[in-house]
């Protein structure tokens, strides 16, 4: 009897210690994502809402790579959309011209990402801040032009469409692709959390804070800037590949500056140093518009008004919460605690009089 009790206790203790582990939140998030798909299948959630959420998860994956760049290495880039586009076209090209081969597509995509990331990384050694953003923007626009005019590979303005993807002879339904997406989300989240808590993450932060201190401590600025750009680009390309396998269509217009700016906004609004901040930011930027505002009559009539809302949100967050909305939750809990204590005190005074 006693033995049973103690074993239960240790199980509980183990669970408690696991809740403090950084991976607990990640698995919880994956569980919620799977739950959304299950709800969509059972008809409680609309299929269109599940689609929108799936696309948000894809942008969140890309945003996670972008946090390393912006929040940790302190490099502003506006070329993200172009890299996502590259991923989507790689899948389109490989599937249409070489048959359904996931592995070839994956390897090709990662190799392309490493090449692109290295190019941008070398540029970033000479140029910093706003100028780097402008140059990456230019690179992204070049990529969009390539998508438009390299017709034999990219299909020109009409883009590329693929059939349902096949995996080991099995045709994948949309729901199954969703699970692949969740799997990649977990992998990317865990990698980002691991990188942040490792010497690599600390090296990135030290380069952002003080280049000379980093060099004096033996951190090679070249190596880590290149590395950050390559990681971020690889994650963006993986996001593009997931986008293509899920939506099965891509056109050049989708990968313009607007998407890059939206991802930047999502990371800045949510909190550029927290993976949960990125999730929150992408839900706000991509989800608020399509899931909530589209149901309100005013926004149906004036479709672009949601952009104004996003802009106002960015201004407010940058002015009052430079650390992102994720900081707001902490402040909010402190505030409520303070208020509740004040209420209790004033009630005591009313009931018992001043001491």
């Amino acid at each position: 009897m006693e033995n049973k009790k103690t074993s239960q206790l240790t199980l509980l203790n183990r669970f408690q210690s696991f809740t403090k582990h950084p991976f607990f939140g990640i698995f919880l998030a994956a569980f919620v994502m799977i739950l959304i798909q299950v709800l969509g299948n059972s008809g409680i959630l609309k299929p269109s809402a599940v689609d929108i959420l799936a696309n948000i998860w894809i942008y969140m994956i890309v945003g996670l790579g972008f946090t390393l760049l912006l929040g940790y290495a302190g490099l502003a880039s506006l070329g993200t959309a172009g890299f996502i586009g590259v991923g989507s076209y790689v899948i389109g090209f490989v599937f249409n011209q070489m048959g359904m081969n996931f592995f070839v597509a994956f390897i090709l995509g990662v190799v392309l990402a490493i090449i692109l990331g290295t190019i941008v990384g070398f540029i970033s050694l000479r140029i910093e801040g706003m100028y780097l953003a402008i140059i990456t923007l230019g690179l992204s626009e070049i990529l969009v032009e390539v998508f438009k005019f390299w017709t034999p590979v990219t299909g020109g303005v009409n883009g590329v469409q693929i059939a349902r993807p096949e995996f080991f002879g099995k045709v994948l339904e949309r729901e199954e692709v969703y699970f692949i997406l969740v799997f990649f989300m977990v992998v990317v989240m865990i990698s980002v959390v691991n990188i942040i808590a490792s010497p690599t993450g600390r090296a990135m932060l030290s380069i952002k804070n003080s280049t000379s201190a980093a060099q004096a401590m033996g951190i090679s600025v070249l190596k880590y800037r290149l590395m950050t750009f390559v990681i971020s680009t690889v994650i963006a390309v993986i996001g593009g590949m997931l986008y293509m396998t899920y939506n099965r269509a891509t056109t050049p217009n989708m990968w313009s500056i607007a998407l890059s700016l939206n991802i930047l906004a999502a990371v800045v609004i949510g909190g550029s140093k927290s993976i949960w901040g990125v999730g929150l930011g992408s839900l706000l930027i991509f989800g608020l518009d399509q899931l909530v505002l589209k149901r309100i009559e005013f926004f149906q009539v004036y479709g672009n008004a949601s952009f104004i809302l996003n802009g106002a949100l960015i201004i407010l967050v940058v002015m009052f919460y430079p650390g992102g909305i994720i900081r707001m939750f902490k402040d909010l809990s402190n505030f409520t605690k303070k208020q509740i204590n004040g209420i209790i005190r004033s009630y005591k005074e009313y009931r018992y009089g001043k001491q």
């Binding site: 691991n194 030290s206 804070n209 004096a216 600025v221 009931r351 018992y352 009089g353």
Partner: protein
């Protein structure tokens, strides 16, 4: 040409020796980490056991209490609580009476009577409760013989449990010792192999016989500048400067504002590439190396660490993580093991974390372990920067104005710390400072420069009495 080839071979051997030595150090340090971990585990287990025993003991201990102390321990607090409650009730009644009077002063007597009634009721209820409590506890009464018997039982049980505790402790200690001995024997064997490897490499190295007359230095010199010149366009910041720094001493570089002291530092640590002249350094293998050939981020690997004039800490990392940034070159795991947190990486992290904590305790900074640098006093930040330099077991620490912006007490503490570092960590310290009291107090040798040119070099007394130096500071004539 042949010499060049020999040099590259020599460098390669040095690198191999360094790697092997690192491996040996790593293995020996890991034994300590395991020891500490096992100790913590043992203490935790014993504590757990003690807690479960304590519960059993409490029941027996209750029996040994005499009636009086039993009442005192269990009844008195309840009574006290009830008393307190009565006070609160009375205060509430008084307050409501006050409010009623201010609202409706005409019905004064009525309200007073009501309040009195309420007070009486509260008192009555309170007394009833007290009676109940008293009844509950007075049911227990024990004779002296009973008490003595239970005391004996309690003592016996206590002794038995203590014995169990001790036995468990011994068993755990034995087990831990076994594990540690196993690990030690393993590391001893592999260390022996590594030593043999190192010896063979050293033998190979000795056959190379490099003849390098250009960079020869005296045996006790660790750093030597020869005709160092640094020009920014037309401005000559450092002009044919040459001096030697002896191993183990505190060397001070002084000069009026704009004399080019910081430029000298930057030339040594390769932040600036010198226009001409050489910087020669004696590395861990007692070979003379030319620092001019090194990249900025490789200088630290030779054991030269610097601090900055205005504190350059990583503001977004805690103090402990800042120290780990200082140990960046000691990590031998690559990016992919950081990506998946392999066991090897975790071990490395543990070892370096233990070292960081040791250094922080040495410098009395352990209190600020998890703090962020932003908002800490300047004196502490300077000390943290000093602690960060110690992470890599440096041979030469270069301090750029360590006392700038500190008050007298902080400066005193800094002097103490620098002395301690010099003694405990056996490093050479090379510093630039404007605070003459500090320089004269701690430096063994001082070099005075002005407009990039050397004025004098010698002991503090010699420098103080030197005419050229006085002129440079106070103006000529």
């Amino acid at each position: 040409m042949a010499n060049n080839k020999a040099n590259t071979l020599n460098n390669r051997y040095n690198h191999q020796i360094e790697q092997l030595k690192y491996k040996m150090r790593y293995q020996t340090q890991y034994v300590d980490v395991i020891k500490e971990k096992l100790d913590q585990k043992r203490i935790k287990e014993l504590k757990k056991m003690g807690q479960s025993h304590q519960k059993e003991l409490y029941a027996l201990e209750l029996e040994t209490l005499s009636d009086l102390s039993y009442l005192e321990i269990f009844e008195a607090p309840l009574i006290k609580k009830l008393d307190e409650k009565l006070v609160w009730q009375q205060r509430a009644i008084a307050q409501s009476l006050k409010r009623g009077l201010s609202k409706n002063p005409s019905a004064k007597e009525e309200l007073l009577a009501k309040a009195q009634l309420q007070k009486d009721l509260a008192l009555k209820k309170n007394n009833e409760k007290k009676e109940l409590v008293h009844q509950k506890f007075s049911a227990r009464s024990k004779t002296e013989i009973q008490l003595r018997g239970s005391l004996i039982a309690y003592e016996a049980e206590k002794a038995r449990l203590n014995k169990l505790h001790e036995e468990k402790n011994q068993a755990l200690l034995l087990e831990n010792e076994k594990i540690i001995a196993e690990q030690k024997s393993k590391t001893d064997i592999s260390n022996k192999q590594l030593k043999e490897k190192i010896e063979s490499i050293v033998k190979q190295k000795s056959t190379l016989n490099i003849t390098d007359t250009q960079h020869e230095m005296n045996d006790d010199v660790i750093l030597s500048l020869r005709d160092l010149t640094m020009k920014f366009g037309g401005l000559v910041a450092v002009d044919h400067l040459s001096f030697d720094v002896k191993a183990g001493e505190v060397f001070g570089l002084i000069g009026p504002n704009g004399a080019g002291k910081t430029t000298v530092f930057n030339c040594i640590t390769q932040f600036y590439k010198a226009t001409s002249g050489t910087v020669i350094y004696k590395d861990r293998n007692l070979d003379n190396v030319l620092l001019n050939d090194f990249k900025v981020h490789n200088v630290i690997k030779e054991g030269i660490v610097r601090t900055f004039q205005n504190v350059e800490l990583i503001w977004e990392l805690s103090i402990l993580d800042n120290l780990l940034v200082g140990a960046h070159t000691l990590y031998h795991t690559n990016f992919f093991s950081h990506l998946v947190h392999t066991r090897r990486y975790k071990r490395e992290e543990e070892i370096l974390r233990a070292r960081a904590i040791k250094i922080l305790t040495d410098l009395d900074l352990i209190l600020y372990k998890d703090w962020y640098p932003l908002g800490l006093p300047y004196g502490i930040l300077k000390l943290v920067e000093l602690a960060r330099t110690l992470m890599t077991n440096p041979r030469l620490i270069i301090l750029d104005e360590p006392a700038a912006g500190l008050n007298d007490i902080e400066t005193e503490k800094l002097v103490h710390t620098i002395r301690k570092i010099q003694k405990d960590y056996k490093c050479t310290i090379f510093l630039v400072e404007h605070d003459m009291d500090l320089v004269m107090e701690i430096c063994d040798t001082i070099c005075a420069i002005s407009f990039g040119k050397k004025l004098a070099i010698g002991t503090p007394k010699e420098i103080q009495s030197n005419k050229l130096v006085q002129e440079a500071y106070l103006g000529g004539e």
